[in-house]
């Protein structure tokens, strides 16, 4: 037990860095920001695995020690308890004087009848009873230790479930634009986190098409800001030959195949059309702009590697409800598209897409490119739907054609859920059973002279038991009242 206390306190303290330092598992961006602002400290922290606290060697070793000590405790206790469960109630103590509960009552109707009544009352109260001619041994509350053991075994069950099934899980993120279809295969994911034993066969084939996404906002009068109150994504799911319409909402995931899809984010995807000087369309697709604030001012990058005489890159802002600020800059004052506007900085040069290195779709290598339009070039590019901008030097034209919305979803298969849920159920059941049960022992013996026999009750409890006296008094009382009833009956 001493080891358990020390290890429990150690686990608690070892968890603290996991909340102070950004974790790769829960806050990967925080880790990147930390690296950029504190490169020196980052190296030190990283060397002691502070960014992966809960999978680190030191944290793992503490909880593994805790579980080893737990198992080392459970096994002998279970064996012992198994013997106790099959054993008879304990023998009466050598000295009755030290028993916390003692009471003597006349053996009304003879000792045999009195012992019968006592035995009946004890059995009715679920005591385990051994009766002799002149004495009774009884014990109650085996559930206390049983529950305690179930609780601890179930904790091991949680850990075992995680260890055995955790590796088969996977999760991935994907942005789906209105009208787009996501098909569940590895290549369709924007990012994917496989468990250590993942294989591609685990991805069951299905398709999810985003038909529409409708957010609802309300003006918070106090903070004078728009707040979302509802997000509704209408999707159609195709599995095999069956197609169904489903509403996907926050707190209401979609189940498809062996995985679940969660609605986590949303934003705007302006459709950008680029034409060459002859008017032939060389690029025409919705481009995801990531929102930066509650009024959905968003940033995005457009890359047009082919079709024009030079590679074209654009970096810009999207404002759902653009208004002019005093400074001349634009701002959005509403998350709904009342005045959708795109502003762009346009570059030419090598976009770096042919080098074979995977490029981040949200980054443009502007240092190696030449800006030809936009901020600080004298020709601002500010487009509302239908606006066309002619690129300088007769390169072609850019149009903000229309506007669509997108949703960000997380798709996840977590095989640990069932085992953890079942184990957790037993954790709670064991805890409640153990804490709600008192371990009590009762002995009864016959005393007194031949003329005036009486039953002497003795009782004790293992552990704190403020209600021992009250409970046993009630038990004794029952035998008396049933004796009185019998007497009256005669």
């Amino acid at each position: 037990m001493r080891t358990a206390i020390i290890l429990l306190v150690l686990v608690a303290f070892a968890s603290v860095p996991g909340s102070l330092v950004p974790q790769r598992s829960s806050d990967p961006n925080g880790v990147i920001v930390f690296r950029d602002t504190n490169p020196e400290l980052f190296r030190f922290y990283d060397s002691i695995q502070l960014f992966d606290t809960f999978t680190s060697v030191w944290f793992s070793s503490i909880y593994l020690l805790l579980f080893i000590s737990l198992i080392g405790c459970i096994v002998p206790r279970s064996l012992y308890h198994w013997r106790i469960l099959r054993a008879e109630p304990a023998d009466e103590p050598a000295s009755w004087v030290r028993l916390p509960f003692r009471r003597a009552e006349p053996a009304t109707g003879g000792t045999v009848a009195a012992l019968d009544r006592a035995e009946g009352a004890l059995r009715k109260a679920h005591y385990r009873v051994v009766r002799n001619d002149t004495s009774i041994r009884a014990e109650f509350g085996y559930l206390r230790e049983t529950g305690n053991l179930v609780f601890h075994v179930a904790l091991v069950g949680i850990l075992a479930t995680l260890a055995v099934t955790g590796g088969f899980g996977w999760s991935g993120q994907r942005v789906i634009i209105e009208g787009q279809t996501f098909t569940n295969q590895l290549a369709s994911y924007d990012s994917f986190h496989p468990g250590s034993w993942f294989n591609e066969q685990q991805l069951e084939p299905y398709g999810v098409t985003l038909e529409s996404f409708t957010p609802e906002y309300t003006k918070d009068a106090v903070n004078d800001a728009w707040m979302p109150i509802d997000f509704t994504a209408k999707v159609s799911v195709t599995e095999g030959n069956a197609m169904r319409e489903v509403v996907l909402k926050v707190n209401d995931p979609l189940v498809a195949g062996n995985s679940q899809m969660y609605l986590l984010g949303n934003g705007f995807a302006p459709v950008i059309t680029v034409r060459d000087p002859q008017g032939t369309v060389v690029f025409d697709q919705p481009v995801v702009f990531l929102s930066q604030d509650s009024n959905l001012t968003s940033v995005g990058v457009v890359k047009v590697p082919d079709g024009l005489s030079e590679q074209l890159g654009m970096q810009g802002f999207f404002y759902p409800s653009a208004v002019d600020l005093d400074s001349g800059a634009l701002s959005s004052n509403n998350p709904e598209p009342t005045n959708p506007t795109v502003t762009l900085n346009i570059y030419t040069g090598d976009l770096g897409l042919d080098s074979g290195v995977t490029a981040n779709v949200f980054q443009l290598p502007v240092e190696s490119l030449t800006q030809i339009a936009g901020r600080l070039t004298g020709t601002d590019v500010v487009l509302t739907p239908g606006d066309v901008f002619q690129l300088p030097g007769g390169l072609g034209s850019i149009e903000f054609t229309s506007l669509r919305r997108f949703i960000g979803v997380e798709i996840r298969h977590d095989p640990t859920q069932l085992g953890v849920a079942v184990s957790t159920f037993f954790v709670v059941a064991g805890l409640l059973a153990s804490l709600g049960t008192r371990r009590r022992r009762v002995w009864i013996r016959v005393r007194g002279t031949a003329r005036r026999r009486e039953l002497e009750w003795g009782g004790m409890s293992r552990g704190d038991d403020p209600r021992l006296d009250a409970s046993l008094d009630r038990l004794v009382g029952k035998t008396l009242s049933s004796a009185a009833a019998k007497m009256r009956g005669k």
């Binding site: 037990m1 206390i5 429990l8 608690a12 309300t218 707040m227 707190n251 969660y262 805890l431 403020p466």
Partner: protein, 292 residues
């Protein structure tokens, strides 16, 4: 109408604080009165008034919570202000409830003092007007998860008050703290009784906290796609759970009963306070619903 109720709620909150202050004074006067009659631990007549005033404060406080809930059209525990408001109510309620089961009026000064402090901090620093819920919070798990968290917090707070008294009482029993100003401790039961009381109350808090973590995990699975992800709030809930698990073990281990166990209980409750007051405000994470 809604705004009206909201301001009624705030007025009621401040009134409850005023009434609690009166109760606190009465509890203190009672303790001082007992200290004066050295060795005697009979309650003075002030104690009855103290409890009566505390019940009145509780009623007003209850009104503040109810009107807040009605004006918001939802359960009154969706941001830090509301959580603090409701948790303090539960703390006072738990204290009053325990008194039906067993006389623990001697910690009344602790409890009412803590309630005043907590309400004051919450009302002054965390107050926010009623605002609609973001989609992630529009779920019945908000009712369950936060409700059991509030209950757990209430029991842990009462347990902490008892553990603190236990520490002082134990020092006094060992011959320390014999000056006049500590004589009020003679009104308290023995440190052993205090420890047994604290244990029973903290165990109930522990059960509620276990439910808080489980309900939170189930909700997190629905809302965020995973039941456990070591979000800062999850980390601290885990820390609290382990600390109190340690406390429960300490109570059953020779050499750890008494002072070490009480200190663990106080560390555990500090973690609860830290989780609410510091993690919500200064740490970033998914539980960023504090509304500040």
């Amino acid at each position: 109408m809604t705004n009206n109720l909201e301001s009624i709620s705030l007025i009621a909150t401040y009134s409850a604080m005023a009434v609690y202050t009166l109760a606190f004074i009465l509890f203190t006067v009672d303790l001082a009165g007992r200290a004066a009659t050295d060795g005697q631990s009979k309650p003075t007549r002030w104690l009855h008034s103290a409890i009566a005033v505390l019940v009145l404060g509780f009623a007003i406080h209850f009104g503040a919570v109810i009107t807040r809930g009605i004006s918001a059209h939802r359960v009154p525990w969706a941001n830090m202000y509301e959580f603090g408001l409701t948790a303090t109510l539960v703390l006072v309620g738990v204290f009053l409830g325990i008194n039906i089961w067993r006389d623990v009026r001697f910690v009344g000064a602790f409890v009412s003092g803590f309630a005043i402090l907590a309400l004051g901090i919450v009302a002054v620093n965390f107050y926010v007007a009623v605002s609609p819920l973001p989609p992630a919070l529009q779920n019945y798990w908000l009712v369950i998860h936060v409700c059991v968290a509030v209950l757990g917090t209430g029991f842990f707070a009462t347990g902490a008050a008892l553990s603190a008294s236990q520490l002082f009482q134990q020092s006094r029993e060992e011959g320390k703290l014999q000056t006049r100003s500590w004589r009020f401790l003679s009104a308290f039961p023995s440190s052993e009784t205090l420890e047994a009381l604290a244990y029973r109350i903290i165990v109930i808090g522990f059960v509620f906290w276990t439910f808080t973590v489980i309900a939170g995990a189930i909700w997190a699975e629905r809302a965020w796609g995973r039941y456990w992800g070591w979000d800062t709030k999850e980390v601290w809930s885990f820390i609290i759970w382990t600390l109190f698990a340690g406390y429960i073990h300490a109570r059953a281990t020779r050499g750890w009963r008494g002072r070490p166990a009480a200190i663990l209980s106080l560390i555990g409750f500090s973690a609860v306070v830290f989780n609410y007051g510091i993690v919500n405000v200064f740490f970033k994470g998914l539980h960023a619903y504090s509304g500040l």
